[in-house]
Subunit: 175 residues, 2 copies
């Protein structure tokens, strides 16, 4: 096998391995939501709030791709559960900031313990230098995925008849 061909094979194997592990990551998230007894979108918003801190309802809609109406429902449920608080912005009173209540971090975070333990075990098999490489990849990968998401979203703005549409939604069973 030639040098470049070996690399091509490596890249393909890597792509599949990443795809597989990220698919399993999605399933872990679904399981967390399930065990915690909250909707998937609710957990996703908690995750965004954890990473971004206090954000507006509109920002949640933007990031998750949900409508603002759907976000109202998400925040209603999370607020009623005592996980987040609505905080009106005094500078611009149209805005509503959503903030995680302190104890919620722990209440939700406990369900990530199995994942953290598994990851600590995996990381244990790597040297500091190797971990730094993984960190570099994680950061670059994040930026790559972010760019890819933006590129894909661009397709939504292209005229629908000009892009291939699978037309799967709004299908009802045959009588």
């Amino acid at each position: 096998m030639s040098r470049t061909k070996a690399r091509a094979a490596l890249l393909q194997e890597l792509e599949e391995a990443m795809r597989r592990s990220s698919a399993q990551g999605v399933l872990y998230g679904q399981t967390v939501a399930n065990v915690a007894g909250i909707a998937n979108s609710d957990l996703e918003c908690m995750d965004i709030l954890y990473l971004e801190g206090r954000v507006t309802a509109g920002r949640l809609a933007e990031v998750t791709g949900l409508t603002t109406g759907a976000i109202t429902g998400v925040v209603d449920r999370l607020e009623k559960a005592g996980l987040v608080r609505r905080e009106r912005d005094d500078a611009d009173r149209r805005k509503v900031f959503i903030a995680v209540v302190p104890e919620a971090i722990e209440r939700v975070g406990q369900f990530y313990v199995p994942m953290q333990q598994a990851m600590e075990k995996v990381f244990g098999g790597y040297s500091d230098q190797e971990l730094r490489l993984l960190l570099r990849f994680a950061n670059e990968g994040y930026k790559g995925v972010l760019a890819a998401t933006a590129a894909l979203k661009g397709l939504l703005d292209t005229p629908p008849e000009k892009r291939p549409d699978l037309k799967l939604k709004k299908l009802r069973r045959q009588p």
Copy 2:
């Protein structure tokens, strides 16, 4: 900063970076479903079918965590869209295998092109040896996530009053 403390900080940074990039990965998947015009679960099943090949309806339910009734709906939509075919097992006629129709790979796969391109660009910055490290990590990480998912699912079998429940579901807005 001491040697071990440096590693602890590195691990924490790594965890956050992974969490961030995997969250963005979820969003990419949602965007694909959106652009393709199919439900999230439908795409998830297509992904499983791509990775595992021909699988039974029951296996899809097991892997996705959906009920078999929900899978019937997923497969109905995918079949009507011409992306999969139901194939009754002749050896055990209760079983229904779901198989991706050949052209569907391309029809769905096109939406992963932006991601592949972004990843190729990222991978370009790594030597073969480094890529092999990433591959090793991806494989070990997959196993770790798989184990973590199983561990978390174990909580579902523990008596609900014995485990911390967020009790968020089935909440309705106040009148």
